[in-house]
Subunit: 531 residues, 2 copies
């Protein structure tokens, strides 16, 4: 398990966004009390196995030859000198969590826990690099199993528990012990950062163990997770297989995406290809019906029916709402939902957790399968508690964001959660502002990317400068430590070749809506206002 390799600077050209100059001038700087090698010997962690502790110097390119082949991050460049600690903790007789702590030699005193994605199974190394480069003592886990499949959860209640909440709880509690040992002093403030499943994990902490974190940065959360998995299995039932009369090719979905933007783009005041409030987009796919004798660039009635179904919310057999529709956006989620293949996470969850039947066929899914999913809400994996008063009372600040071009998890579910909290706690937005703020990021796909000003510094995959006015993590730190809460998040878009900033937008705090002022450069943040 313990092998690894370091190739200094060789991949810097491939991962330029991970090359961050640490800005810790205004922060305290603490040094380790012991050497990295001594750390392994000094730790006294229950049920733990230490794999290695090794100094890695700034500029090194780290590869991960021993991680599961399905994990996508193959290498990361660290831009600060760190002590890299690899270890595992047994959580039951048949379950284990693997962890890594990246401990900067110049430490700000801050602790940072990181999350995962999908059903994996993969330490999120870019977030460890990001955190440690900014002087956080950063820790990450494999979420209790290896690889992106849900199969390791099969007949393993311990691994399921790790997945639902325990990996994060462990990294928080054990991570702080490690920090204490390495620097011989406790951390000053504790943070969490994650997106997608990592966003759900952040809200799990906010709901169930908020005292572990002073600040939580949670993006595109996969909360309401059982509902998400049920809803995500629906599009396949509507599209059918390639060749079916109901099926649309990727090119046809591209047509739909462009037509959707055409119909809805003007609602924010200007045609710029970006929807600032896609919830307003009540797309009418009949506009693409083929005229007489038209055979290209148009759809049949059956295909338009598919589009309508795909863009419908999901309801259960009790007539009750389950989950919002897919995100209306230019880039249609072909790979995830529309390719004529079942959605893997939904299939895995049903096979390995709900029905414990690896041969279960996702094509048979019907409303009759909903109650079983609902009932298999192990350890409340749904992560949908509307009462965040434990977080409020612990003083925890929650910074929540969601891209409005998200092709995997619709941002409408994030607004739904915010409103759920507002109703449950009976708090106005002004009152929620004290501890919980949600930002809608136009032009951001799932956690990063997209057609707009999506660079907000919310993760290791989504970086620019580390300044509170233009970086979500730095903004959270300022909120926690200086009491200055963000009213907007400045996002940037860069030219793919030149890396020049070609667009900026100040993304609004929900429920405010970004609206073009009516004049000025559309690509300048100053031409927009939150209304």
């Amino acid at each position: 398990m313990a092998s690894f390799s370091i190739m200094k600077k060789s991949l810097l050209k491939i991962w330029p966004s991970l090359l961050l100059v640490p800005i810790i001038s205004a922060d305290a700087s603490f040094q380790p009390a012991i050497s990295c090698q001594d750390l392994a010997r000094s730790l006294h962690l229950n049920n733990a196995t230490i794999y290695f502790a090794e100094l890695v110097s700034a500029g090194s390119n780290i590869t991960f030859p021993d991680q599961h082949e399905t994990c996508t991050t193959k290498s990361v460049v660290t831009t600060s000198d760190i002590c890299r600690l690899s270890f595992s903790i047994a959580t039951s007789t048949i379950s284990t969590v693997n962890l890594e702590a990246w401990l900067p030699l110049n430490w700000t005193g801050r602790f940072l826990a990181t999350g995962n994605g999908g059903l994996n199974g993969c330490i999120k190394y870019p977030d460890l690099a990001y955190g440690s480069s900014q002087g956080f003592a950063a820790i990450g886990t494999n979420n209790g199993h290896n690889g992106t499949s849900g199969e390791p959860l099969y007949n393993n209640p311990g691994s399921i528990e790790d997945y639902v909440y325990r990996s994060i709880y462990l990294e928080a509690t054990v991570g702080k012990q490690i920090v204490n040992t390495f620097y011989d002093r406790p951390h000053t403030k504790s943070y969490y950062l994650g997106c997608s499943t990592g966003g759900r994990q952040g809200f799990k902490a906010a709901q169930d163990f908020p005292e572990e974190f002073d600040g939580i940065l949670a993006g595109a959360p996969a909360f309401s997770m059982t509902s998400l998995f049920y809803a995500s299995a629906q599009p396949y039932l509507y599209t059918g297989k390639p060749g079916d009369p109901t099926f649309l090719t990727e090119d046809e979905w591209r047509l739909v995406g462009e037509d959707m933007v055409k119909q809805c783009d003007k609602l924010d005041g200007v045609l710029d290809g970006l929807l600032e409030d896609p919830e307003l987009c009540q797309y009418r796919p009949e506009s693409l019906i083929c005229a007489k004798n038209q055979t290209t660039g148009c759809l049949t009635g059956a295909q338009v029916e598919t589009v309508r179904s795909v863009f419908s919310p999901t309801y259960g057999p009790d007539g009750k709402f389950i989950y919002p529709r897919i995100q209306p956006a230019k880039d249609m989620p072909f790979a995830y939902y529309l390719s004529g293949e079942p959605f893997a996470y939904s299939t895995d969850w049903y096979r390995y957790v709900v029905y414990k039947d690896p041969s279960w066929d996702p094509a048979t899914l019907s409303p009759a399968d909903w109650p079983a999913l609902l009932e298999t809400d192990i350890h409340n994996v749904a992560t949908w508690k509307g009462d965040l008063s434990p977080a409020r009372d612990a003083g925890t600040k929650i910074l929540h964001y969601h891209g409005l071009e998200d092709t995997v998890i619709t941002s409408e579910n994030s607004a739904r959660y915010y409103n759920h909290v507002s109703r449950t706690m009976e708090l106005t937005s002004a009152e929620l502002d004290e501890f919980y703020r949600y930002f809608r990021i136009s032009g951001m796909n799932h956690c990063r990317g997209g057609n707009g000003a999506s660079i907000i510094g919310a993760s290791g995959d989504n970086l620019d400068e580390y300044k509170p006015d233009s970086n979500a993590l730095a903004a959270l730190v300022r909120w926690v430590e200086d009491g200055v809460a963000p009213d907007s998040l400045l996002g940037k878009k860069k030219d793919a070749n030149s890396s020049q900033v070609v667009m900026s937008r100040r993304h609004c705090k929900y429920p405010k809506r970004n609206t073009y002022k009516g004049s000025g450069d559309v690509d300048s943040a100053d031409s927009w206002q939150c209304l």
Copy 2:
């Protein structure tokens, strides 16, 4: 049955809108071939009983002492000399349709059939007065039973069949016979006019016997009727009874309506209190959550949950869409859906048609009751066929309209039908334009009234001048007879006291959306454009 009374001009002040100066200058004028009294003797109608035939001179105020007390129209002023024929036709051993034909002495050659409302039961006299005043030979029926209750349908398949389609089919076929006898010549063109259930009846004709009509004017149709009745029974289940934590008072719903307009009004380009496309309105009732120590002008979390539920679409136990949400509009449908009482038509339909159990309790309604309703689609009362090719092939023109402040039937269902037809027939909007056009009337409540320019001349309750450019019926006649199809419908709003026109708006043909040009008098039609 046959008694009636005429009180000349005595109620003119009360019904000024019914005083129309007939404009038939450009039309042909035919006179009766026989006297009104001879008409009764000359008719040879199967299964018919003639009650009376009597000349009524222009300016007479007609009252209807023998109609069922629950019917709301108590008197009407006729503004043309007519022969009024009252009769009935037995449709089975236990079912009968009552009819009246109002035959103008100066006849344009045009025939006009009229519809009903709700579950009634009441000849729509204002429409007979309207049609005959404009030189149409107008006919109306009691829809096969008397009064507004659905109870007469109980154990009477004949009355149900009358209600679903036969009354309209009868008035069309028998009415034309009467015309032929009275004027000794066939009609030139045949029209239908109706709103609400009358709108459904119009589409029933368009779907099943379009050859009876050259033009159909159908407003706020109650089509998808079984779905409508199921959906209309839901709000009561969400609101609970007065005093329940979930219940909102009428004042609180007024707050919701105002807040809704505040959130959504600007989407059409200007704040004028009217939503030009309420489908875009994704209302966020959490904005009304009570702040700490606030006790008035706000809602509790449970009440906000009620608002969300009430504004949700209805889905069935199979997870499939049933019916769109209630119309977002300033005036909330308190009387119909939100008062803590079950919706009477839904209750009646379940009691007297579906379950044949007068003691059935609407508070027990659940998704388990949906299949029974769906299966009780007698004679396809749902009226939801998407294939209008019989109408197109018959040359029938369909002019469909729906108010965007409809507190009874949401206009979103009309858009849904239009799109259903587009998909089913695989016709573009340009192709549908040839025979089917749908107009969205901002600021119109159910069939008439509302806060906007809702006077479009579509019925006897909704009248101004009879000109094709500003009157829906005249526009339909021009479409049928001159081939000039309407691209918009000019609506007016009048001051309640002075009757001066205070607002005009050119209502757009769907799917175009009325949008403020950005400058100019908001109340002037010229300041708006269909985009």
